[in-house]
């Protein structure tokens, strides 16, 4: 029976034949459900990266019960500052090649607060946009050296078009969108793949306020299944649930004079 491993950066290289998956922002509800699907299918070597160690340990114990043959590593660290990210990714890569990275962290900021407090605004842009793409950049660069690996990154339908009720979050996710396009172009001739996932509003702690207002939210299990499937098929981009593809097509083509009359 494998044990849950508490990671430090100085840890020695672990040779493993198991598929190696890393989740950045592993306490995210969507990421947790992806992890459940991965351990359900096979014994994997999984590294959970997040800020809250106690929460990570709860998730690790759960995954360990679900598949006791898997190796579950926990790494509590910060990943906002570029140097922290550099250090984190190098540390993970020195342990051996990574097959898949899921970048899942994010917060849903209060748009009003972002307009009034630039500190909040800045934080929202960094956490939802700058930090995820820097993580992607760092992993992709390492993967390119061995010409192997997949990076999946969670964007949002909010990144497709700015609107007054959440453009700070939307702009950050829009940055992710554009950055991934560039990476995909750069990596087109390699075996390194980047998958962009755009979930609609999903039933997670992040959307608690939406839920309290009675807004219909997508089931997190279905979203996680879509993400796992998209990664498996190495899709460039996927909307989940799939209806958002159509909704966003319409919304993005809405003439400006109509959009400006809408309270959305």
């Amino acid at each position: 029976m494998e044990e849950i491993v508490e990671e430090t950066m100085e840890e020695t290289v672990v040779e493993t034949t198991k598929k190696r998956i890393v989740i950045i922002g592993a306490t995210s509800r969507i990421a947790e459900h992806c992890a459940r699907l991965w351990v359900r299918d096979e014994a994997i070597d999984l590294t959970l990266v997040g800020r809250n160690e106690a929460k990570l340990q709860q998730i690790a114990s759960d995954l360990h019960v679900r598949n006791s043959e898997s190796i579950i590593r926990v790494l509590a660290t910060r990943f906002i500052d570029p140097m922290d990210i550099q250090h984190l990714v190098e540390g993970i890569m020195t342990q051996g090649a990574v097959d898949l990275v899921l970048i899942a962290h994010g917060i849903l900021p209060d748009q009003q607060a972002c307009q009034q407090q630039l500190v909040d605004n800045y934080e929202a842009l960094v956490i939802n946009g700058v930090s995820p793409v820097m993580c992607a950049e760092a992993f992709v660069t390492e993967m390119e050296k061995v010409n192997h690996g997949t990076v999946a990154i969670i964007g949002s339908v909010a990144g497709d078009r700015g609107r007054k009720t959440n453009y700070v979050y939307g702009a950050a996710k829009g940055l992710v969108n554009r950055y991934v396009q560039g990476l995909q172009h750069r990596l087109a001739k390699t075996e390194v793949k980047v998958v962009l996932v755009k979930p609609g509003p999903t039933d997670t702690p992040m959307t608690a306020e939406y839920k309290a207002n009675g807004m219909p939210l997508a089931c997190v299990k279905g979203v996680a299944q879509d993400i796992v499937d998209a990664i498996e098929k190495k899709k460039f981009m996927v909307y989940t649930p799939i209806k958002w593809r159509l909704i966003m097509k319409v919304f993005c083509n809405l003439p400006r004079f109509i959009l400006h009359k809408l309270e959305v």
């Binding site: 709860q58 998730i59 019960v65 679900r66 309290a212």
Partner: protein, 428 residues
């Protein structure tokens, strides 16, 4: 505020829903009264608190530990029974007790001390809980179980969520050889025949249950089903069909005509037979039809489940079935079953030695309530009681008469816990 209902779908009222996400975080109640809410599969108002707080436990869905040698599983309270079965069955362990659905949470199974078709062998769900954690409204967390704080444990098992929010539990699973069951189907044509079959099956059969025709005015007739696990290992593969009731019809599809038709066809289709059946199909026939409660239409439905002591059981069940048949109300699935000769550990647990009758009634307002008043009289005169997890309307005196440990239980109540049911039946 969000509109929330229970499985009976009669009340759909606004609640202040708090999602619990961490089993170690104390409850933050802000001095508002609340009650735990899992999947909302209770039929009545035991899990509702209109205008107040609901602590939703469905995100407490993590396993904590599983020992495949001893079969002890620790998990959070929002884990579904179906998740446990899926996890542990490949290693030869399963839940000893599950009700007619496995799509319920562990917390709900404990708080209502649910029972199954094997009550005479395995008792109720609480009999297999070896420890549980309660989050109390004063911000404390407490552990209790059959070996420590036993009084709190007896109050919490079957305690309708009123001693605190159950956040995690440790359960002793049972070994099993195969998920397949040898089943026997035996039609019966009188109540005496039912009791004879039930008594004869108590020794030697692990699962017993019967369907009874609730429309028969002259004579009681039904189908007795009993089952034992297949002893030689067989494949675990069960290609279950699944479907859904896709929409809510404008009126209940269960009415006087469909009732008579269904009951007659159902009885005549079941002949004396033996066959091998997968545990899931035998135990949870309705789990393959999601949203089956929609069949009753927008007015929803009641379920009436009583247990009558064995001494008065025959006469009381005959009277109950007679009243129901006369009323022309009822449902497709009426269950008649004997409980084993064992008391439950919970102060407010429903199962007790005797015979239990359970059936749904489409909500037809006064007409349905008038029938229940007649049924209540029969139950009370026979010294029986109703199942709170199924109830949305029983009178307080019937509840008090049926649960003699109520006063002791009240000493263990968490003053911050309150539900529509507790205000109706316990006064607060």
């Amino acid at each position: 505020m969000v509109a929330v209902s229970s499985w009976g779908s009669m009340l759909r009222e606004e609640h202040d829903v708090h999602m619990l996400t961490n089993r170690d975080t104390p409850l933050f109640s802000n001095d508002q009264l609340g009650i735990a809410y899992g999947l909302g599969k209770s039929y009545g108002d035991v899990c509702l608190n209109p205008g107040g707080v609901l602590w939703n436990t469905t995100r407490l869905d993590r396993f904590i530990q599983f020992d495949a040698v001893t079969g002890v599983l620790a998990c959070e309270a929002g884990v579904l029974l179906s998740d446990i079965q899926r996890l542990t069955m490949p290693s030869g362990w399963m839940l000893p007790v599950t009700p007619g659905t496995q799509l319920i949470t562990v917390g709900g199974a404990i708080a209502n001390d649910v029972h199954g078709k094997n009550h005479h062998v395995y008792g109720s769900f609480g009999d297999h809980v070896t420890q549980l954690s309660l989050a109390r409204s004063d911000g404390t967390l407490m552990q209790c179980g059959p070996h420590g704080q036993t009084d709190w444990f007896s109050a919490t098992v079957g305690g309708l969520g009123l001693t605190g929010v159950i956040t995690q539990a440790e359960i002793q699973l049972r070994r099993f050889a195969s998920p397949w069951l040898n089943t026997e189907t035996i039609p019966y044509h009188s109540l005496q025949e039912f009791f004879d079959l039930a008594d004869a099956s108590e020794e030697g059969w692990e699962h017993t249950v019967s369907w009874v025709d609730c429309t028969g005015k002259k004579n009681v007739r039904g189908i007795f089903m009993r089952a034992n696990p297949v002893t030689e290992p067989m494949s675990n593969d069960c290609s279950a069909r699944s479907g859904s009731m896709p929409f809510m019809p404008p009126v209940s599809l269960v009415n006087r005509f469909s009732l008579k038709l269904f009951n007659t066809v159902y009885f005549n289709r079941h002949k004396l037979s033996e066959r091998i059946m997968h545990h899931d199909r035998f135990s949870y026939p309705l789990d393959s039809v999601s949203h089956w409660n929609r069949i009753y239409g927008p007015k929803g439905f009641y379920q009436y489940q009583c247990v009558i002591p064995r001494e008065s059981g025959y006469d009381a069940v005959a009277s109950l079935l007679n009243e129901i048949a006369k009323s022309g109300q009822g449902s497709f699935l009426t269950v008649l079953k004997t409980f084993g000769n064992r008391e439950s550990i919970g102060m407010l647990s429903f199962p007790r030695p005797g015979v239990t009758l359970a059936l749904d009634f489409p909500n037809q307002g006064e007409k349905t309530l008038a029938l229940f008043a007649k049924l209540d009289d029969i139950v009370q005169a026979a010294g029986g009681r109703l199942y709170a997890a199924k109830d949305a309307r029983m009178p307080r005196d019937l509840f008090e008469a049926g649960y003699p440990q109520l006063n002791t239980f009240n000493q263990y109540r968490d003053p911050g816990m309150s539900s529509a049911l507790s205000r109706r039946l316990l006064g607060s």
